[in-house]
Symmetry: C3
Amino acid sequence: MNELMTNPAFHTYAVCACILAIKMLLTGNYTSVVRMRTKGFVNVEDAKAFGGTPSEQEHPAVAHALRIQRNDGENIPLFWAVGLVFVLSGASANGAWWYCWTFTIARLVHWIVYLNHLQPWRALCYGIGYACILGMAIQVIF
Amino acid sequence: MNELMTNPAFHTYAVCACILAIKMLLTGNYTSVVRMRTKGFVNVEDAKAFGGTPSEQEHPAVAHALRIQRNDGENIPLFWAVGLVFVLSGASANGAWWYCWTFTIARLVHWIVYLNHLQPWRALCYGIGYACILGMAIQVIF
Amino acid sequence: MNELMTNPAFHTYAVCACILAIKMLLTGNYTSVVRMRTKGFVNVEDAKAFGGTPSEQEHPAVAHALRIQRNDGENIPLFWAVGLVFVLSGASANGAWWYCWTFTIARLVHWIVYLNHLQPWRALCYGIGYACILGMAIQVIF
């Protein structure tokens, strides 16, 4: 395993994987904050514990926050899986650096533009992340 | 790491993990296509950017597409995690080949039958994928 | 790879990753059981195959079960990714043992308290899992 620690491709992947995980934790926090602020509780126990009336439908602002989380959940785990097999299959340090940082920065900017309701920038960031996953996956397969 | 590249169990896992990631990217594209075709926008900025009226509720066809994505999200990451520790724990090339390809083909067929609203085939494909995850997980634990 | 099998940190991670995957399979089964019991079908083909009237909205009990699954999906994949790079980056056997088992037990208890609508215990379990991910991620980055 000492070999892995000193491998620059794996090191880049490991740092980016953790940054993206922290980003997902914070995205979850954002949903909680919006839920608290709008008192948009759907679980009866939450309305009781934190004060408010439970609703069957999500509050629009909470639904927006949940869509940000869902979008992360549909993209970041793909990076964790494909990025890992990419670096474990002997990717060059340079190739890993470009793929991992491009994906990570695209997802961080995606978050900012989604929070601010900015199109077509959100679609662009999504596309860049998509291209990174696809590029790495194709290189592993062939 | 050169050891990993030449390990047939790891190689099978890596190829299947990437095929499943590409499948998830395409499933996401399908949702986008359905959303565009039905003009089923829930984000105000999307309705503005692509033309249409934003709705609070997902269009039924979009909701169906999102359920396909959600089902992937509830199953494929389990394969990425359990499959990886299975092959890294010294699985035989043969065992890995059967588990990984059975799971991958079951999920690809699951997609086709879900798109075509076919039951009980969808439940069957789900069950085959489920059995693969459970089998590998139990072998790793014991 | 024999090196990995005998590494106690990796072994702890592998067992916990598989326990959490089995937990997610069972959480999915719970949703199916609730859906069958309430006849809460949203797919037309399911209502036809299993008897019942399809509905556009999820039944409240099914929606509750789906929120449990969604919460898992927002937390457990983070453990799979961050936990793996943590142990592959040369974590001590002791550090891995505490992080992995604390996270795993917190998520199992989270499940029980969510099923039983218990607050603030659910928030507490969520927070413990959150702290484990954050702690490992920060250690990998620095």
